[in-house]
């Protein structure tokens, strides 16, 4: 039996989340195969073949897969399973927006349950996953023949991106479902690292006061540190930061080496998204703010004075 990983990619390159998912796949046991479903995605398939620990890359390339529509991606995964002579015991998606979109479709079509946001593989049928915004960790056992998982990437190290030399097998592409059509995409333009891949994150909360102040105070610090910018739900709701900067239970789950929380009180839903960071710094003038209970270094100060001072001393 083999394990199938559904690659996260932008056709031209592989996303880092794929590497963490491969590590989870290795822990499940069996040969690891990676499906690259895309359009003109030869470069991504080659990158997948180079990952250490990958035995085979399946490359489906066609217009129906150009925009990653869940209907078509799920159909492609089902087609792979139908053709597979060896059979797959596990199907792993990274728990990204794309993975979360397609994985349950695959599970339902196979009539199996899905295990979401897996943070640890205990053995081939038993896994750990957070529930209640990470306030509890459930150890769960699946009774299904095929296990469909989404993998929380912060729970697993990245597999080495080089060192492997898997064969790439071209697959027939499924037909378009005809039921959903891609209209457009608005990518947030940024020279900064991607939030979920950043080594350092500078994050702002409601105390930033306005969108202008958010940018004026935090951008210089992020520039100085080469960091990504994040925000609490309160800051996003108030319109200080774009939606996709939200860190927390219902936003992005991050685990950078350094997380600098500025003016964030630390609601449990926010902590759920960042408490696995290696080092947490909290700057807040409220000594009782819950963020201090998870911070390695807490600075009780007015962020509008402390952050510029921090920028100057770096």
């Amino acid at each position: 039996m083999s394990v199938l990983v559904i690659a996260e990619h932008d056709h031209g390159s592989l996303k880092g989340a794929t590497l963490n998912t491969v590590t989870a796949a290795v822990a499940c046991g069996g040969e690891v195969h990676v499906l690259v479903a895309g359009h003109n995605a030869g470069a991504a398939a080659q990158a997948a073949a180079a990952i250490a620990g990958v035995a085979k890359v399946l490359h489906a390339d066609g217009a129906a897969l150009a925009e990653g529509l869940a209907e078509n991606v799920a159909a492609q995964v089902l087609a792979v399973l139908k053709d597979a002579s060896a059979g797959y015991s596990h199907i792993l998606f990274p728990a990204t927006a794309a993975g979360k979109n397609a994985a349950p479709r695959v599970a339902a079509l196979l009539d199996v349950a899905q295990l979401s946001d897996v943070t640890k593989v205990v053995n081939a049928d038993t896994f750990e996953r957070p529930i209640y915004a990470g306030n509890a960790i459930a150890t769960v056992q699946s009774a299904d023949a095929v296990k469909v998982l989404t993998v929380r990437t912060t729970g697993f190290d990245a597999a080495p991106a080089t060192g492997g030399s898997a064969a790439v097998e071209a697959l027939a592409v499924v037909a378009d479902s005809g039921k959903s059509r891609f209209v457009g995409r608005e990518q947030t333009k940024s020279d900064r690292p991607e939030l979920t891949a950043a080594k350092i994150i500078v994050s702002g909360g409601r105390a930033m006061g306005s969108s202008d102040q958010f940018n004026a105070v935090l951008t210089p610090l992020a520039d100085k540190l080469g960091a990504a910018l994040g925000a609490s739900r309160a800051a996003v709701d108030a319109g200080y930061a774009p939606n996709d900067w939200q860190v927390g239970q219902t936003g992005k789950i991050v685990a950078p080496s350094l997380y600098v929380a500025c003016g964030i009180s630390g609601a449990i839903q926010h902590l759920a998204g960042m408490k696995d960071s290696k080092v947490i710094v909290a700057i807040n003038k409220d000594p009782e703010a819950p963020i201090f209970s998870v911070a390695d270094y807490g600075l009780e100060a007015d962020l509008f004075a402390a952050v510029p001072e921090l920028v100057n001393s770096l």
Binding site: I131, S180, V183, L299
Partner: protein, 249 residues
């Protein structure tokens, strides 16, 4: 057009749950229960579509224990026209709920199903996508904007790094993200009115669905505690600690 809005009864957003000492689950005895916040957004969106004249009837559905009737009454107070409770004492996992909803979709033939992207108790984020797969419908997940367009529905989705827009044919499944709308407050007259709206109760067996759980919870534990660190007196000390002690900058 008819719309089906599934709603889940969950531990209230503001409650910090405690893990039971015997590790069998979390203690939800005597804690406040509410409608899953994402589902509340789903009900609100359906009501707004009705106010715009796109939707003619809103059916709220809940799958679970008898007390889910309260959740359905709340949905009707926001503006749903009638409600169906699929009553079950068995733990219902997303695949089972999706199958129950499919049975209701087959019966009611709605053009849209709008539901929350995830429940804040099990944090699964599965039911909408599973329902779409089982019914062969297209899906617009993590919606931040929904418009009727070209005989179908145009959904703007929150994805990693920005927004994406898809056009779906009907019938379709939409799952809501946080900023699709801000649900209205329910007023007392509407709460009174909701008490008189029809609420039908059915059992999974009536719908011919096997709801046996596929996933067994072996243990529920507290997450590893992160010890609080130290407070630093000033920025200079902070920088020194980050450089010399933590070595992260």
């Amino acid at each position: 057009m008819k719309v089906l809005v599934p709603v889940k009864r969950v531990v209230d957003y503001n409650v910090k749950v405690r893990v039971k000492s015997d590790g069998t689950g979390v203690d939800i005895a005597n804690v406040k229960m509410s409608m899953n916040p994402f589902d509340e957004i789903a009900v609100e969106e359906a009501v707004r579509l009705k106010e715009k004249g796109v939707v003619t009837e809103i059916i709220a559905v809940s799958c679970g224990v008898t007390q889910c009737q309260e959740t359905l009454r709340t949905a009707m107070a926001i503006g749903a026209d009638r409600a169906i409770l699929v009553e079950s004492e068995v733990e219902l996992q997303p695949l089972a709920v999706a199958k129950l909803l499919k049975a209701l979709v087959d019966k009611e033939a709605p053009q849209l199903v709008i539901l929350g992207k995830q429940a804040i108790d099990d944090d699964c984020n599965q039911t909408g996508q599973m329902l779409a797969a089982l019914t062969g419908m297209p899906q617009g997940t993590f919606a931040s904007k929904v418009e009727a367009a070209d005989g179908g529905v145009k959904v703007t989705r929150e994805v990693d790094g920005g927004l994406e827009t898809v056009q779906l044919s009907l019938p379709a499944v939409i799952t809501t993200d946080l900023r699709l709308n801000e649900p209205r407050y329910v007023t007392l007259p509407n709460i009174m009115k909701a008490k008189k709206k029809p609420l039908e109760v059915v059992k999974p067996a009536d719908l011919g669905v096997d709801v046996t759980p596929r996933i067994k919870t072996l243990k529920v534990a507290e997450p590893a505690k992160r010890g609080a660190g130290v407070k630093v007196p000033d920025v200079a000390t902070l920088v020194a600690k980050l450089k010399n002690e933590a070595k992260v900058i």
